[in-house]
Amino acid sequence: MSSPRSRGALTSCAIAARSVGVAVEDEDRLFGSLGIELTPVIVSVIGDQPSPPATLACRAGNTVHRTAPDPIGLSSCRHPTSIWDGVGSLVDCVSKGDLEGGADTVATVGLRTTSTVIAGSATGRSLSLASRATGISLGGCISGSAFGGPDVTGSLCYYATPSGESGVTAPGGLGVGGPAGANLLVGPSVSNAENLSDFEEWFLYGGASAGEAQYGAGVQGQIGKNGCGRTIWSATAGWAPSLQLGVGGEAGVSYTRTYT
């Protein structure tokens, strides 16, 4: 078994992420240790304190859908800085004739609004508390799939993560599924993601459902690696009403976008 100190010396991404997070919190230590003394300081910090939730190093490798405000403060298409800035952003899209951008802006604002409403609700606060207490991401998903050889799936999920971050994720995927039909899956979801950007990756997904019409239940899971190479999984189980030929199953590849 390796000691905390030797483990800290390893340059794994997750440890680096935590370390940078701690260093950012403690500015004096960060600026005092830039350069030559950086590694020893990080090791001592890891040894002294519990791991705080921080993700800066991992995020550098990912694409997080955050806004890039216009330098002169005007709303820009596809980049609403807030829910209220959505109208201005939409106007900008229309003025440029960018319909795709307009749709993207509407979707972004809608999902952020959804995320904000859920996060502010009693359920959202409870999920956040439970997530921090358990160290796993907790939430819920609504998924839809259609299959008949080829399979198309899409989901909307809300997660509260142990880092305190919460938001909506929208995975969409293509694969194979059969025999033929369509189903929904509505239910609670869990994941080992530490923050929302961990979801912003390519995943392998699989799912199955059993039942008749509204008397159905199903599971869906996905697994992949985040920007740091850490394996991230998520699993959803719940009510799965369906219209299908026989028992349904699916598997394929999906990509997830996140909205905070």
Partner: protein, 135 residues
């Protein structure tokens, strides 16, 4: 207690043959049991309502099928055969409705048999299967 007729149950429906599974409604009235597939099934599959013939109705409850869809009632009539499926908690009310409507109820507790065999249901799936109407 005054019973209002018909009593309706929201059920899952398995078409036979064809083995398409979707939603539907089971209506029970004195001397009449009718299972009507939902609109989506009707339009995709061409499945039509079936009125049960005879005075006996069978309820199958397989032990090894999950309880959320382990109660099935084959409805056999002129329009063919349709199996109505519901969950375990509806079995009692379904049985009472059948009895009050004047039917003899025969209950079968099986291991896996649900009143139809998948192979039989799959026979003719090509002819009666999904999107038949769209060909």
């Amino acid at each position: 207690m005054v019973t209002t007729w018909p009593k309706t149950f929201s059920v899952g429906v398995v078409t036979f043959p064809g083995y398409l599974r979707g939603g539907g409604v089971l209506s029970v009235a004195p001397g009449s049991i009718m299972c009507t597939p939902g609109r989506v099934m009707a339009s995709l599959h061409g499945a039509r309502a079936v009125r049960h013939e005879g005075t006996r109705v069978e309820i199958y409850t397989p032990r090894l099928i999950p309880p959320w869809f382990n109660v099935s009632v084959p409805i056999r009539g002129e329009g063919g055969t349709i199996v109505a499926v519901t969950w375990l908690l509806s079995r009692g009310s379904l049985r009472r409705a059948f009895q009050e409507a004047g039917f003899e109820v025969i209950e079968h507790v099986t291991w896996v048999y649900r009143g139809f065999r998948r192979k039989e249901a799959m026979q003719g799936a090509r002819r009666f299967g999904l999107f038949r109407r769209w060909r």
